[in-house]
Amino acid sequence: MTVWLWTIPALPLAGAVALFLLRLPRAAAMGLGVASVGVAAVMSLVVGADFLGGGETVFSQRLWTWLDIAGFTPGIAFHLDGLAVVMLGVITGVGFLIHLYASEYMAEDTDARRFFAIMNLFVAAMLVLVLADNLLLLYLGWEGVGLCSYLLIGFWYRDPANGAAARKAFIVTRIGDAAMALGLLLLFAHLGTLHIPELLARADTLWQPGHPAAVIAAFLLLGGAVGKSAQLPLQTWLPDAMAGPTPVSALIHAATMVTAGVYLIARLHPLYELAPPAQAAVAVVGAATLLIAGVAALGQTDMKRILAYSTVSQIGYMFLALGVGAWSAGLLHLMTHAFFKALLFLAAGAVMLRLHHETDIFRMGGLRRELPAAFWSMLIGGAALAGVPWITAGYWSKEAIILAAWENGAPGIDGAWLYAAGVAGAALTGLYTFRLVFVAFFGPGRRHAEAGTEHSLRVLLPLSILMALSLIGALIPQPLAAVLPEGHHGTHPAWTLWVASLAGVAGIALAWLLYGRGAAGRASNSAAVRFARGGLGFDWLYDRLLVRPLTGLAHANRNDILDRVFDGIAWLNREFHAGLAATQTGRLRWYAAGVAGGAALLLLAAGGGS
């Protein structure tokens, strides 16, 4: 059955092509869009089970040779291993649930066909990204998901603000992508291949740990990863990306695309082991991002922006895990995060559906009774996000990362610091998550939900499945042993476990103290809160430092300063012409004088010469 691997990305791709080209009626379009991903999910299950049952550690499938130039022979070729199986499951499984949900969420939108076409294209590109056996094909998927992200953030294109958010997302990630492209160039120049297993094998034999080329390449690829995964210093695009429809936020900007950076580093983990400074940088980026995004989330009042910052923060945990070499813990968190964050976004979407797309939590309140499905989803998703001990999936994955940070540390960095960052982040997570839950769902109701029909099964089914996965998803076995090394080097004292476990609960308790009886009606607007709401000033800084100088320069040079040089040459010629033309007076006597004077001069010259 594994030979049917190619159908997994091909199905959503075919769906996308059909949706783009055929003018299907809306219902049929939505059906096709959901079905193609659904069948891909089934195929993933079948192929994955067959592969894992078969006992092989790797299955590769080469469809055709993409190009073949002087030893550079990337193929349109897939590589299936434990890591890819995990990613397949997340992408097609969660992807299918979100598509199903979207078939209700987008049911009223006249552009639903376009929506599902791009969503299918996204799933196809994401699958190519995780299945690619060479970095060039991976880059194709990488850019493809970026494009779909752009198209979906700006899906409601009539509002220029959405377009601006979409453009920002694409351009900021493209900065990372350019760095990543340079990384590929460097790797090819030194290793002569971009085929991932071969590249890693050659790197292992050619390079000692700390080899400059390995370090630079790892840093350049990290540039790509932080762009796509919205980590410091390129995290600013993700909160704005919430301009897109909520299923998009759930699928692309929570569950799948933004974790591509994590996947990339995990896939290339031997390279990072050869580049200790780069790996330390991964840990530092993760730790710093999870704290900064956690603080920023506290200042938000927009439900989706809170979740967006929390996504940035949680991916920070994954980076932290990668940085300390806890590869499988990072992947576990990737999976559980996909479950509970998708759940949270879908719950937020369910709220918005009934509140005329209201997203400000301080204008909600008391929704607990009116929207039970959304409430329970939000509560369970929030509990998993905050890491409520033992009963939620998020607890197990986050715990593993925080403890691994203590045990391993990153190259050159004491684990205690990273541990402290992780614990502080966990407390922040509890606080901001339950601030959202308490303010929006408890206390007095400020705005009543539209008395619409109850949600259909297309909404309730994804919510229930994701609720279940958010609770027990950590139990799903991850077949990563053959791919990722076991990363535990040290031990941790018992208190570290307790502190880490209770940090999230402490955050929830604090949230209860502050917001338990509902909010004061409106958010605080002190300078500190505004600073946090603005994402800690990064946007402001980049705007002053990069955007304005660049656009200013470009506008100043709009008429091309270099063309002035040629204008100058033309001007000189014109002036010279004018000077000569002035001598042509048209008067006979003037010409005669010229002839006479010239003759006299010639005679003088001849006389002087002889």
Partner: protein, 490 residues
């Protein structure tokens, strides 16, 4: 066969020129280009065994006849795996150019199509000539009809643009003529007797300072045509003023003659001088990439924006050619073809918009996605292709050029990579300003009709094919680049 390639557009031009007004010239021109395309495809399919001429190259076809024997000037055409893809591009985009003029050109239709076909004939000759004198003749044949196309059927500012185009090209062409004549004289000194034969001149051994100067003569001519910073400023004006078909063949084909000349003449004729000059040329390439992008995204005029992106895109070609290794050369070739297709399509789109809206000012557009979804969909596709999206030929061109360039100069490659970001900025601004946003109430353009969908669709498919299964093109060009590399870098 090769003569037929040149003759078909010439005959087409003469017939169209005397076909009177109305549909006649259009049909004749379209037929001529269709026949031309058919010839190219036939050559592609029946590519025979490769052979060497004068000990050089890997050629597919060759024709030669004495022309002015007294000065060693021959009528000499040769075809290899480098010229064939470019000829195919010429024929295909020439056909698109005729299609683009179908409703746009309404005055002096016969003369218009005669000029169009003469320009194309000149281009075909440039891609085929292996006698430098003949090459120069074709080079000029290409120029004059283009001048008329811009000067007569252009938009506002056409006279200025046409003259600027003419002076830039002509002045730099004269530098090349000086170099060509110097080569012929050097051959007379060395072997007794003039020769303009490319294969004879390849064997010349020229001393260092002289070779550099002669190389620069060729380089400047091709660099103007490419165009590369700082000799690029004729291009935005010419494109803005030219009629749609003029813009299409200018961007898609004529610019490629510059790149072709660099690969065919500048480097092989003066390998050592070119090698020494490579760092400067690559720096110019990187400068073009960045500068073109910087110019592009602040333009209000749609055609001007697209023109500025050409500067940026062809910077990758310059970068790749002077990196002079298999990846970079293949990348440069792919970039030439893909840029021809994607930019041709974008100009087609700009022309269609101008025909409908009577403006090219993007400030007056917006929201077209709501009013003309098919048009906007194609616009989005080609804008995204032009920013180098993997899956289109543009990505492979840029990536391979960078891949090869990195091995020659990581510094300039890293700077060029900034162009990837710049491309995202200008392409997305184009999309935003023309297609997205709230549509103005009075903006109700007709969507694409079948003729336009067919042309755009064919170009889109070609671009995807180049991006996903490009190996036939690479295979065709591989022996050419392999022999060029071994001959120039022993």
């Amino acid at each position: 066969m090769l003569t037929a390639l040149v003759a078909v557009p010439v005959i087409g031009a003469l017939l169209a020129g005397f076909a009177g007004e109305g549909r006649g010239p259009r049909v004749i021109a379209a037929l001529a280009m269709a026949v031309e395309l058919g010839l190219c495809l036939a050559l592609w399919l029946e590519a025979g065994p490769l052979f060497r001429i004068g000990g050089h190259g890997a050629w597919l076809a060759y024709e030669s006849a004495a022309w002015i024997p007294r000065f060693g000037i021959d009528y000499q055409l040769a075809l290899d795996g480098l010229s064939l893809p470019l000829l195919t591009l010429t024929a295909a985009l020439g056909l698109v150019g005729v299609g683009a003029s179908w409703t746009e050109i309404r005055e002096r239709v016969a003369f218009f199509h005669a000029n169009l076909l003469f320009a194309l004939a000149g281009t075909v000759g440039v891609f085929l000539a292996t006698d430098l004198f003949l090459f120069f003749v074709f080079w000029e044949v290409m120029l004059v009809p283009m001048y008329f196309l811009i000067g007569i059927w252009g938009h506002e500012g056409r006279t200025y643009a046409a003259i600027k185009f003419f002076i830039f090209t002509q002045a730099s062409g004269l530098l090349m003529l000086v170099s060509i004549l110097a080569l012929a004289f050097l051959h007379a000194d060395a072997a007794g007797g003039f020769s303009f034969d490319y294969f004879d001149l390849l064997d010349l051994d020229i001393g260092a300072p002289l070779a550099t100067w002669l190389m620069l003569g060729f380089f400047v001519a091709f660099m103007v045509k490419l165009p590369a910073v700082p000799l690029h400023s004729w291009l935005p004006d010419a494109h803005t003023a030219a009629p749609t078909a003029g813009s299409i063949i200018l961007a898609a084909i004529l610019l490629k003659t510059g790149a072709y000349g660099l690969i065919r003449f500048t480097v092989p004729l003066f390998p050592e001088a070119a090698l020494a000059f490579a760092p400067v040329a690559m720096a110019l390439g990187a400068a073009s990439i960045v500068y073109g992008a910087l110019l592009a995204f602040v333009q209000d005029d749609l055609k001007r924006l697209i023109a500025c992106t050409s500067i940026s895109h062809l910077g990758f070609v310059l970068l790749g050619v002077f990196a002079w290794n298999p990846w970079a050369l293949q990348g440069a070739l792919m970039q030439m073809i893909a840029h021809g297709v994607s930019t041709g399509a974008l100009f087609l789109l700009a022309g269609a918009l101008q025909e409908r809206l009577h403006t090219r000012d993007m400030a007056a557009m917006g929201g077209l996605a709501a009013r003309a979804p098919v048009l906007a969909g194609f616009g989005l596709f080609f804008a995204v292709a032009s920013l180098g999206m993997p899956g289109t030929g543009n990505f492979l061109g840029e990536f391979l050029a960078l891949l090869g360039a990195w091995q020659a100069s990581p510094l300039w490659t890293a700077i060029s990579a900034a162009g990837l970001v710049g491309a995202a900025i200008y392409a997305l601004i184009l999309v935003q300003r023309s297609f997205h946003g709230e549509p103005p109430a009075d903006l109700r353009p007709a969507d694409f009709d079948t003729r336009e969908i067919a042309m755009m669709g064919a170009l889109a498919v070609a671009l995807l094919w180049l991006g996903l299964y490009p190996q036939p093109v690479f295979d065709l060009a591989e022996p050419v680049f392999a022999t060029l590399l071994t001959e120039t870098r022993p």
